[in-house]
Symmetry: none
Subunit: 300 residues, 2 copies
């Protein structure tokens, strides 16, 4: 990261909310479920699938967690109603993971049951490392009863190769991403090239075991490495998908779709768009440069 | 690329031809076939093999393409006469690929027949991506009748791993290089590390299939990766060769020869040395720095 990039990223919280919002509109579908479903329909025309992400996390009130579970159910109903090629990604902390593990699991079961009714799929997102163990434990325990669910593994975590060994033996479904939280060195790789190396090692392990894998990255180096692994291991097209975030690298998305790969776009929406947008901007200085452009009035 | 390198590369066309020539004399054997054969004989004393490259491309006149085919035949005759360890690399556009496919193939057959008479080998060079499909198609169709021919695959092209699948099942002979033309992102990887990654993936695929492979690179990272692959896959010495350009990285060339690897030097010659020299200098800012040195009179 250059000094300029560092300044941009550190300065982000000082940027007025209205300007972050103007830039973030590329990365967030809107404030309502309707906005999100419109974005999904547009992506479907491109040949891309989607996964809905209701923004908002770290819920500490039981009522708020129950409301989020209902909202997830409602999202699954709406997708089925409109017949859209989308599933739902859910956040453990939004379902009460930090309040009470039993409450969390009860909410998970409600959402999974809704997915089951519609023959749809739900992926449990992975948040920071304080939630990893509880999230993986819930997945391992519930997956035999709800086969249409998946999990996320983060390549920057030192534990990830071992976590692959502990996946359910049948029907495991993993999204592999680099990971974007700031974690202590004791548990996470920090250096860019090292995270890439572990990403490809984890991807090879997943694919070699026949795990359905969602290859979530915008890093062309990893896309190239993934394509080489898919080729070498002769993985059939229906056993993996690429995943990208809404608004990030649409050119690479089109290149992969044109080559016939399945690809799913992560579509965030909701009133709590601010923290997500800041995290996106922090993660990607290229994107953060748009903030600067917006500040000087050159944003489109 | 640093700003200085960028300025050097962009400024190249402004450098007087005589000075480019002075620097390029390291990279071009001379204007005549005799010059080239003298360079080949000298390389043979070092233990290196050679491949002759008659400079000049993008021929649009039928007579010029026919004359080039005759010149290639003449090169094969001269190599046989002098008993030198050299073969010939030929350029599709110089044989009329852009004029007429039937003319192109007729010229290919003439040159391949000449190689056959002498028990020698001809490699079809790969030019920019507008010629890739026609070049590979000609190779695939003619190779069963002319087994002593080879092709080039470029690691920066997204199609390369798939092109390996389409190689002839018996006797395929591939030079693998990174690729030096400027191609659109839709068809080519751009980032340096990504091209390296795809190079090693393609090399592994070629070697694992038993394809005779010419490992054409001056990038020590790739030489290191290639040596590891050759070791891991236990590829016998007669199933591969390294390839380098005349005048580039002679030290690495000597290191590989001293370690007992077969190595072939690409020896360009001819009156059309200027565009080749500019491309070489553009490709390699380290080399382009020699131009600067020549300009300030410190060249040796």
């Amino acid at each position: 990261m250059s000094l300029l990039d560092w300044l941009i990223v550190r300065g982000l919280p000082l940027v007025p909310r209205a300007i972050v919002g103007r830039v973030a509109s590329r990365y967030v579908a809107g404030e309502t479920l309707d906005d999100a479903l419109r974005a999904v329909a547009q992506l479907a025309q491109e040949g891309a699938m989607a996964t809905l992400d209701l923004l908002g996390e770290e819920v500490v009130e039981r009522a708020k967690a129950a409301a989020t579970a209902s909202e997830y159910e409602h999202m699954l109903d709406a997708i089925a109603e409109r017949g859209l090629p989308a599933n739902v990604s859910i956040k453990p902390t939004a379902l009460g993971l930090e309040i009470d593990d039993a409450l969390f699991r009860a909410h998970l079961e409600r959402v999974f049951a809704a997915a089951g009714r519609h023959g749809n799929f739900v992926r449990i997102d992975m948040e920071d490392a304080t939630t990893t163990e509880a999230t993986l434990a819930a997945y391992r325990e519930l997956q035999p009863r709800f086969p249409q669910i998946g999990i996320v593994l983060q390549a920057y975590l030192r534990r990830t190769l071992a976590d692959i060994d502990a996946l359910p033996h049948a029907g495991a479904n993993v999204r592999l991403c680099k990971g974007i939280y700031i974690e202590p060195r004791a548990i996470a790789f920090e250096e860019y090239g090292t995270v890439r190396l572990n990403y490809l090692a984890a991807l090879e392990k997943l694919l070699a075991r026949g795990v359905y894998t969602a290859i979530a990255t915008h890093d062309e180096h990893l896309v190239c490495g993934a394509l080489a692994l898919l080729d070498r291991l002769r993985v059939p097209r229906e056993r993996y998908e690429f995943q990208m975030l809404l608004g990030v690298e649409p050119e690479l998305r089109r290149i992969l779709l044109a080559a016939g790969h399945r690809l799913r776009v992560y579509v965030p929406f909701g009133r709590d768009w601010y923290p997500y947008s800041i995290r996106r901007l922090r993660e990607n200085p290229q994107v953060a440069r748009h903030v600067l452009r917006a500040l000087v009035g050159r944003s489109r």
